[in-house]
């Protein structure tokens, strides 16, 4: 689906709009503009998940996740990443978020469901670690743009080997 229309709110969204929004988000992450990135999330419903590599479709209420942040946790995560005492990211790693295969899947209540493939490279101490997988976004149309209700990154990696960590925002 290249476009989606939500009749109730008369919102029409094109894939190009979504792609531009995703690229802008990726730029915020790769330039470590994390406070700006945090502001993309809906204050109440915002959340960010990365399931464990062996249980990609599990529920964070009952399963162990790599990351299961609601807004208080996500705010703390960003504050920690910018604090200078998150040693895994001080000095900051170089990252490059590559996004492709963007698909608008339709509406779930008031949220637009978008999927996209990603490869995120993290460069540090001359290691290059690729994080590969699929994003699912639940987006709330707001003022001609979007707020994130949920951002889920499902890793295709079978294990975080040799990556060892998810210390930055994938």
């Amino acid at each position: 689906m290249a476009t989606a229309t939500l009749n109730r709110e008369q919102v029409t969204v094109t894939r190009q709009e979504i792609e531009e929004w995703l690229y802008a988000e990726a730029e915020m992450l790769d330039t470590w503009n994390l406070n700006e990135w945090l502001a993309l999330f809906d204050e109440e419903r915002g959340s960010f998940y990365i399931p464990a590599t062996d249980a990609p479709y599990s529920d964070h209420n009952t399963a162990l996740f790599l990351i299961a942040d609601d807004m208080p946790k996500l705010k703390s995560r960003v504050a920690q990443l910018l604090s200078g005492v998150t040693w895994a990211e001080n000095p900051q790693s170089r990252t490059r978020h590559m996004i492709s295969n963007v698909r608008i899947k339709g509406w779930e209540d008031d949220m637009l469901i978008v999927k996209a493939n990603f490869v995120v490279y993290r460069m540090r101490f001359q290691n290059i670690d690729p994080y590969i997988g699929e994003y699912t976004y639940k987006l709330l149309p707001r003022n001609g743009s979007f707020k994130i209700a949920e951002r889920r990154a499902i890793l295709d990696l079978e294990a975080l080997r040799p990556h060892g960590k998810v210390s930055f925002i994938v």
Partner: protein
């Protein structure tokens, strides 16, 4: 530099009279040392393999590497738990190539189609007529691990057919402490298995998993950001002087437990309320109360407090670390001197109500795991140590002397690491358990 020639003698300075303990850094980088460790430690110990809750019913199985070998853990059709070597007796292929499954009736090797039942017995050979009289199908079942022991759902295996029995290997202290952990309830491994790694020597993670000294520095963000953001903590942290415990002869604090096993804190019924308990009280208070009632009913008031107080972080030698305050089971294995593969799980009581379980998981993720608010900084620190060891010819020794001669001033001791290293040295040199278990 001393000439070790693949021999561990001389890699440790243990001067108990002056209070100096040092480890030669070649122990972290030398291929010959790793070879010795494989032969004399990993092949001659009880190694943690998994938990029964991962494959509870007949036909359920998991596969994973244990001690460098591919292993199938299965509940067979007869209800017995088996640990089978995952290699076909014909010409070697892995017979089971899933990480996990249920309702298996057979394991079929796809290479030439040999079929084994869930007990490992060889049941089918395509074209069996081609084999001579001497060919003995009965003897060609999947080879079981030489030793297996199920301790209250925790499956341990050993690759040494002459291995001493599990109880004597553990000894009364380590058994008491692991039982205290398992007494929290009908324990299960929560869905979701952290499979990660470090570009570092495995012994650095043994040290780190029991290191009280690093917490305030490496994990500064946990104390200055995460806890306050949850309305907890108050910025004290582990370097804050602790009140002197009552002099009543009870064991407290870091304790050697024999045979290289050691804990950073002996469980007591009087332990100040743990971080986990404060978190659970705040976010699932009523449900925690109910859970506690069940614990008291089953174990009595004093024991219930001891169970809930938990031990600290403890090592079951050589490579099982239980981080009791977060319900972590962690094990790891070196594939080279400067790289290890790590597995982490959450072991939690089935009695948890949904809200209590969620709070336990939140507390876990607030510190633990590759995406947690602490573990990534441990990975960073240990990888940094490993990089630093490239200077081992010029900078030969690491120091692990803190708290020797019974010195309790100035914060956490490094006793735990000395206990590990003394066992390590004894195993590599004499093949026996270490004799000295003092400070």
């Amino acid at each position: 530099m001393p000439d070790f020639g693949g021999n561990a003698a001389g890699l440790i300075i243990d001067d108990r009279e002056s209070g100096i303990f040092r480890v030669h850094r070649s122990a972290f980088i030398d291929d010959d040392i790793l070879k010795l460790e494989r032969e004399r430690i990993f092949d001659k110990s009880w190694l943690f393999a998994g938990h029964i809750s991962e494959f509870p019913k007949p036909g359920d199985f998991i596969t994973r590497n244990v001690g460098g070998r591919p292993i199938i853990l299965v509940t067979s059709d007869d209800g017995e738990i088996r640990a089978l070597m995952n290699t076909c007796r014909h010409r070697g292929n892995l017979v089971c190539r899933e990480h996990k499954g249920s309702n298996a009736e057979v394991f079929r090797c796809f290479y030439h189609g040999w079929i084994y039942n869930t007990r490992g017995e060889l049941k089918g050979i395509p074209g069996e007529e081609a084999y001579s009289e001497a060919f003995d199908r009965e003897s060609l079942g999947l080879e079981p691990a030489p030793k297996m022991h199920n301790h209250r759902g925790c499956i341990f295996i050993s690759f040494d057919p002459d291995m001493e029995d599990f109880e004597s290997y553990m000894g009364p202290d380590a058994l008491m402490v692991i039982d205290n952990t398992l007494n929290l309830g009908d324990m299960e491994f929560v869905e979701g298995h952290f499979k990660y790694s470090m570009r570092a020597n495995w012994k650095l993670l043994v040290e780190n998993s029991m290191d009280g000294y690093h917490a305030a520095f490496t994990h500064e963000r946990f104390f200055t950001h995460w806890l306050p953001s949850m309305g907890l903590g108050g910025g004290g942290g582990p370097m804050t002087p602790q009140p002197t415990p009552p002099n009543d002869g009870k064991r407290r604090g870091a304790q050697p437990m024999g045979n290289g096993h050691v804990t950073t804190a002996w469980p007591t019924s009087d332990r100040p309320i743990s971080g986990q308990a404060s978190y659970l009280e705040k976010f699932a208070g009523a449900e925690l109360e109910q859970f506690r009632e069940g614990l008291v009913k089953k174990h009595g008031d004093e024991n219930a407090r001891m169970i809930e107080g938990r031990a600290g972080n403890y090592l079951i030698f050589p490579n099982l670390l239980i981080i009791d305050g977060w319900c972590v089971f962690r094990t790891f294995y070196p594939t080279s001197p400067d790289y290890m593969e790590i597995s982490g799980w959450a072991a939690m009581p089935k009695e948890d109500s949904p809200g209590l379980r969620k709070a336990r998981l939140d507390w876990y993720l607030g510190f633990q795991g590759p995406g947690g608010f602490a573990t990534p900084d441990d990975v960073e620190g240990l990888e940094g140590c490993q990089m630093g060891f490239a200077t081992h010819k010029e900078v030969e020794w690491s120091d692990i002397s803190r708290g020797m001669k019974g010195n309790t001033k100035g914060g956490p001791t490094e006793l735990q690491m000395r206990v590990f290293w003394r066992e390590w040295e004894a195993r590599l040199t004499t093949g026996q358990h270490a004799e000295y278990t003092g400070d």
